[in-house]
Subunit: 354 residues, 2 copies
């Protein structure tokens, strides 16, 4: 087991990489433990849960509502929780988002930690202290930034993941490579077959490298005022696709990354060959589904949390492995969307032999 | 205008004591201002509000629900708010509690500040960064700790306060005196007539001294792990009375203080004469209403947020002007409640000539 320490203004956190639930004994309180999990994870792992009160929520993004957090606070109160209680989120990204927010709010904040059961949450969702729930169709509008005390990543748990969720996690790995680590990008490409076979050795190594990239960024920018914005690469278009088509988060972000890379080439920030490199490799990895941008995409983006006071901060690439933030006017963005959707129509017409 | 700086791990805050709304110009953003207020305050002060979107909520404690905070986030989103927006809570303690929590949660936290319009909030509610809403009958179960950028206390606004709200504020002043400042206690007693006449000169001085006591405590203990617990003096019984009898917060706390003082004498921590001193002076100030403790008071306290893992941390007095924290078993507390309610019954019987 490897430990990665994250020390920020938002609190100190330790990522326990490759450990098991047995490693948690001295890190959890003897009593007052509240385990927040979902119906899927509960069914598979209930037998190995540490001793505590289990609070189960429905599996899936639809549970990310303020009402679910309020209900969890009420259930904790009814079960006798107090300010000395400890919340353990046991599940994937949705569970960790909800458990983190519940722990931030219950009696103005109690201790909390996560056991990450999905590839996506082992790489991404549990690191950085961001939590949140959705407000209608708007994602993560209500939340806080607060580091969990620790995040346990047990790679054995990845064996039972549905393919769709596994691909979601791979999308995030490609994201970390694309924004900060060109070598990781080529290693991901070179290991494509072993990854698809879920070789635990290669996965452990790739997760660790991916987490280190994110941890280094979060450490430098806990409140997301600067470099941490790079982690939003692919998310602006990704969120729109996720909601409009109901795609899994990581898959939508993967598609959003390729669109953002094309935008990078369109604005002249990145050579077109780099865009080709990224899109070809991600397609080989099974990550890309064609998707037209839905109507009113600009209106949605303008109202999304990545927009600020009219224009939009956008994460673009200079090259595969090097991301930057540029401010784009909504007018320019609309012009790109028109170009993108028209080109798409053309290429589909050609493929269909018209 | 006097400025008091509060610098804590929860953020930096400035209390602008004796200023007016005109003093806010350079502290507020030119655009993106969202003013959260209630129906009463809106009616009186709408004309002097800074330029911004006004979000009104129903006046009164009944608005302190999670749903009101969610609705405010939704209204901000609909009005075009983003991460660069600024929330100004304009009102008394309830408005500041709700505005502070809304600002903490909206897009994981936006800038915020308060204009305090009530005596209670000028003294107490806006300082320390604690916000929160109630969960059913349980107070402030859902909240965060986050300092507002500034709190403007315009003493002119106190002229129009209803008597009940004014007394609530005086209760908090007596609390600060009782826990930390014996001189303030005697000055409050000596100035009783001028206070009752709402002499603005004496009020400004007393508020300032009271705020300095609280600010010094909060500065030393932003996360409420130590000395800040003293500020809960009177609140354990006070919360129970507030909910059971529907008393105003400050009046309930005043009653709770006298009960806690009697408990201090009962446990032997404080001479009985000191309890008499406190109760006589507070009665003269019009602050004490007789109130029996409701049934199951211990059960309520055990579930209240001041209880931890079975027994209870209780703020007691050694003398008027010197508070301490003691851990009391629920059994001892029950014995005191029996003694208290029986004594009360006896004295009532005697008064009624039985």
């Amino acid at each position: 087991m490897k430990s990665i320490k994250i020390n920020t203004a938002g609190g100190e956190s330790v990522i326990l990489m490759g450990g098991t639930v047995d490693d948690l004994r001295e890190r959890l309180p003897a009593k007052g433990l509240y385990i927040i999990t979902d119906t899927n994870v509960g069914r598979i792992y209930r037998d190995i849960f540490p001793k505590g009160e289990v609070l189960e929520i429905e599996a899936g993004e639809k549970s990310k509502t303020p009402q679910v957090v309020i209900d969890l606070c009420r259930r904790m109160l009814d079960a006798g929780a107090d300010r000395s209680s400890f919340v353990l989120g046991f599940g994937g990204g949705v569970v960790c988002d909800i458990a983190g927010l519940t722990a931030s709010l219950f009696m103005r904040g109690v201790r909390h930690a996560f056991v990450s059961t999905s590839l996506l949450s082992q790489i991404d969702a549990s690191i950085g202290g961001k939590n949140g729930v959705n407000l209608g169709e708007y994602k993560n509008i209500i939340g806080t930034i607060r580091q969990p005390e620790f995040v346990l990543c047990d790679h054995n748990m990845l064996a039972t993941l549905p393919e769709e969720e596994f691909l979601s996690g791979m999308g995030e790995m490609y994201k970390h490579a694309a924004i900060r680590d060109r070598n990781l990008f080529f290693d991901l490409s070179a290991s494509a077959d072993r990854i698809a076979a879920r070789d635990p050795g290669i996965l452990g190594d790739l997760i660790l490298r991916s987490v280190r990239i994110k941890a280094a960024i979060v450490r430098r920018d806990p409140m997301e005022n600067g470099i941490r914005r790079l982690l939003n690469f692919g998310h602006t278009f990704g969120h729109v696709l996720e909601i409009h088509y109901g795609m899994p988060h990581g898959v939508a972000v993967a598609r959003g990354m390729v669109i953002a890379a094309e935008l990078s080439a369109w604005t002249g920030e990145m050579p077109h060959a780099e865009y080709r490199l990224l899109s070809v490799e991600m397609e080989k990895a099974g990550l890309i589904r064609e998707a037209e941008l839905p109507p009113n995409v600009i209106g949605r983006i303008a109202r999304d949390k990545k927009s600020e006071a009219g224009s939009v901060n956008f994460v673009l690439l200079r090259a595969v492995g090097k991301a930057i933030v540029r401010r784009l006017s909504l007018t320019d963005l609309q012009a790109f969307v028109n170009y993108y959707n028209e080109r798409k129509d053309n290429s589909q017409s050609i493929q269909q032999g018209k």
